[in-house]
Symmetry: D2
Subunit: 359 residues, 4 copies
């Protein structure tokens, strides 16, 4: 059954496999009159590329976007926008052994069980390359939010808050893009990168924690009781390959918090605006954004492709040992950030349009 579309009013449909001819996305519902060039999208695609050989895969893909429809004389027409990225640096030979053995922690076995016919080259559709399409769509979502809604101050900021035992201890926004791990605390960043280097040497990988912060998020987003903003964001984020958990504001800490501690009490600030004393809820109450910053926490698992030897089973049902060669990320966290930001941008734009319909 279909599962490759996301969004109701800004609808994103993605397609493509890791080692197929190309990857792409069709956006249906983009308002007309938005200034759009391939450059706007390329910037975000480039952010998704590996920043460092220490942390990430050495596979080099130009990931050059081409717009095929829906844009005329530099502006969107309201018609579906089709975008494509051709796969170039495809070494299918690397993956020939994947044909016969299921990699632990990967989707090889479940795809085989469900579809019987599986494109085993580099994970096929279950590969992280699939997120190329999400980033292209996210770039447009960000652009539309800015131009159509004039939310020029709204900002979606993703950053790494933990890798292994190392936690970020401060939030200096401008540091984020200055280091390879996208951490807002440059000292923590150093420790994280050093730790990942160690993992790579060991033939291992490591997980991490990401926070997406949406500054100056508009209020009123979210459609109770099922399409609550946090519910839709949770789905958006959890649909990214390596994510194992998502929470908002105080998140799992609420488990041991009292109502009197966790409740966001109100105060009146300048211009008679109402604000909360804390923002434990992460900017969402009853599924509707309050106008405060959204705070989204994302648990990212260690990449399952490791060269360390593991126990697994082959297609004949025999237990075998496996050591995964090829070009892999020792920590996927920094590259997941533009993807998570994209999913948040798409979700917020979709809800902005939903709000506009009834406003």
């Amino acid at each position: 059954m279909p599962g490759n579309s996301f969004g109701k009013l800004f609808k994103v449909t993605t397609w493509g496999e890791s080692h197929g001819k190309a990857l792409g996305v069709v956006i249906d519902g983009c308002p007309s009159g938005i200034k759009l060039t391939e450059k706007v999208i390329q910037v975000e695609l480039d952010r998704r590329k590996p920043k460092s050989k220490t942390i990430s895969t050495p596979r080099k893909e130009p990931d050059k976007v081409e717009i095929l429809s829906g844009v005329f004389e530099g502006k969107t027409t309201g018609m579906p926008i089709s975008m494509i990225v051709f796969n170039k640096n495809v070494k299918s030979a690397d993956y020939n052994n994947l044909k016969n053995t299921y990699r632990p922690g990967h989707a090889d076995l479940t795809y085989e069980m469900k579809y019987l016919n599986r494109d085993y080259r580099g994970g096929g559709r279950a590969s992280g390359r699939e997120t190329v399409a999400r980033v292209m769509a996210g770039a447009i979502a960000k652009k539309v939010i800015k131009q159509l809604f004039g939310y020029k101050k709204m900002k979606i900021i993703g950053h790494t808050t933990q890798v292994g035992p190392h936690k970020s201890k401060k939030f200096v926004e401008k540091e984020i893009e200055n280091n390879e791990i996208r951490c807002a605390d440059k000292d923590a960043a150093k420790k994280m990168i050093e730790y990942i280097r160690k993992m790579r040497v060991e033939g291992d990988s490591i997980g991490g924690l990401v926070e997406i912060r949406v500054k100056n998020c508009p209020y009123g987003l979210g459609e109770p009781v099922f399409d609550k903003l946090d519910a839709d964001l949770a789905k958006a984020i959890m649909s990214i390959g390596a994510v194992k958990g998502v929470s908002f504001g105080a998140g799992f800490n609420v488990v041991s918090m009292k109502g009197s501690e966790n409740n966001d009490q109100y105060k009146v600030v300048k211009n008679k605006q109402i604000e909360t004393v804390a923002n434990n809820a992460g900017g969402i109450y009853g599924g509707i954004s309050s106008g405060e910053d959204l705070l989204i926490n994302i648990a990212v698992k260690p990449t399952p492709s490791i060269s360390k030897k593991q126990k697994t089973v082959d297609i004949g049902g025999k237990e075998v040992g496996m050591s995964i060669k090829g070009r892999h990320d020792a920590c996927i966290v920094p590259r997941l950030i533009p993807v998570a930001e994209s999913m948040v941008a798409i979700t917020i734009l979709d809800h902005l349009l939903r709000l506009k319909a009834i406003d």
Copy 2:
């Protein structure tokens, strides 16, 4: 915009307010020929009722279900099933003060900002009573899974794994329904209940952790890349009022785990079946169920309605103190369990039908 339907093939649409005439649900897409009586649904509705005055609200609602359509001579007809529960024990007077003051941690303010016209009686649609409709739908979902798919061994088990500082240390399934907090560890249960009693005395409330375990879950559920099983479950769970976080298997622990620790290595067990050594993924790979137990962790916040005095703002924009009287839960966790089970059942059935369409 619409947001009150959930599911694509087993589609649930809910309606009703806390202090309105009634609450209800329409199920569209229930297969025909399923044996169904009001009793099957009543059992689950009764599980949702307060078990104890210590923990829960003393508001007493009979919550008597009535089936209005879609069932003929004791069996479903394939037509929409409409079910209704009339509100009986409505004391709107209790809530008259809510008209003028926004309760901290509640949806009062965001609803007011978004809709302008707000049913302030007992939280209106944002009340926990809304979940009555979810439980009615969940009861039918459980029944269909059993009868249509013959998954008689499949079992959706919700239990409390933490309240405040007290954690469950063992899993004895039969203990769960034997104590008021629905904990599988009876010693931990005692400590949890005692702790909640203390909270009530203090005029406070407390959060908790719930695990939903799906035993003998069928494999092949989930539609990549956006309608992954974990993505849809995350949305289903996060759409429940008090939930602030959801994770699968090892959950947020993956943040500090290595690939070699977190990866679920395979072994061959009896009948040539493949199993994982651990089940850190919680039974889902690449968004598709593997046939192992689903493990879902849910962070539940402390109920925001507390009698302890809090700072807030009134509709005139003036800072005021507020102490919430009325009939509230000191810990919502045990009552949330049947609701979360229902959402999981609905999601699984929906995906079973999606799988069936292409199988």
Copy 3:
């Protein structure tokens, strides 16, 4: 699979059977702040009732609407609006023979084949009574269009243009509700009614033609290439039980028209407004409304329930003769008009909201 919802932003979900406890509808997506009382809906429900024993069934149903949710202090809240009508005048005994024999021209056999378990009482869900729910939703749609969009001059006018051999020859709007057949030409109306009387005496029934004219329809409605306004209207209209064809403007006459005859050439009228010389397209080009009147033609079949003897088959597969007793309409056309108007109103409102989202 679900099939009982219509609309994307103004979403209507209906339920209920002819001889069940009740019929109802849930509207999800109705904007908040719309003044709404049961009276507004009752007026339209009353229009749907039989106007004359000559033409229509003598079954007398009070069809008294009750609003159960989504309205607070006389205004909509943005939450789902649940409405119910209880069935009162139920004589199931009338239909006991339907259990064993399939009525020609009815859905008895196809329902049996598809669902196996069939509510045979009065046609169950396939009965014309199902349209009670559509009319309730349509009444609200009309109200929202007026209040929210200020389209006070927009008017959805349904009228009978042909019954058997008798055609309406002029359009005098105020005559429509003055005669039992809802014809805008009072002389034709007389002939039509006389003809229907004759049919009833013969134990037979007769078909007819309806035009729905939408005056002062806003421009810009319709979402190419699949959700074109005419495509969505065609689905809306064709989903009404007795309809066998739908066309726009010149309709099936285009078959023998030349481009030079059929093309709507443009002229400039007062205030620099552009108008067409004719309106052969019925107000829609490329699936988008032009601002001119919508013209929709609907072919309505003769009601299949006739007392004249017919050949059919029983559930044992034996050929038998059948004469349908009970309370039936000799011509359903005038009662179908409020239903068709409702479907048009729902479709137009849905598209108005879609337009608003991107405008």
Copy 4:
């Protein structure tokens, strides 16, 4: 708002403009394991090409399909299938005058009003070239129906039943593809073609009537009460550019038929199968297919692009004369047939999958 997807389980999303870089379609929900090559699709694309210079446009497009994803080693994988056709024979200069003047009978003006930013080159998205995408999807739908469901005898046959005053008088299936107008009556075909030739000489165009007949259609398709098979087919057909009306079986003739004439009485034929004496309903009762042939009638308007001089208005709002040059069809009917067949195939497959989900 999005409007470029069709189908719920077999979901087709199209994109592309007449004079853009390419046209394409993404199919989400195609079952895995279906044998698929580009050749299967090319055959249908070739049927859509002009057969004759008399009737159709001389624009020559190779319309060579390329599959970009979702197929591996000759079989579908269950992943989205992306297909593309590049536009080659683009003469945008032909259309430069369209920038400033609205063609009568075309969507130029409504697109301008709705989207403000309009791709005027050759009609942009409103061009008939958009149907290339529909035909690619339809080819796959036909293949899946055959292989997955084993409905090898099911056949979707489109043919021209009227052009101008000339009607087809017999149905000889094998004649259809033997003449340029796709008429099953070869004598009528000659008259039709001669008539069209005359139209072309006059600088005019002509409409026509198409019947789509689905032989050996499976029973049980259609989801009451809104997603009835005839309702979904009506939407599918009406969404094709040139269509102004759609009807089933006796169609608009029911207007003057009696119940005793129109009702499909039952008889028992060989193997205890039940059949109707006539098939006035066109194979659908209560929105569900009965297993008899589907009979769908389609009114096709004359192509609005004619060289005869017409009155229109330019973008400055001034009345002007216009004579449309360029490469146009004098009668679009024969080329519309593969498109209509495709939409029927997509709708039937979608409903087959829906049926399978609950069967």
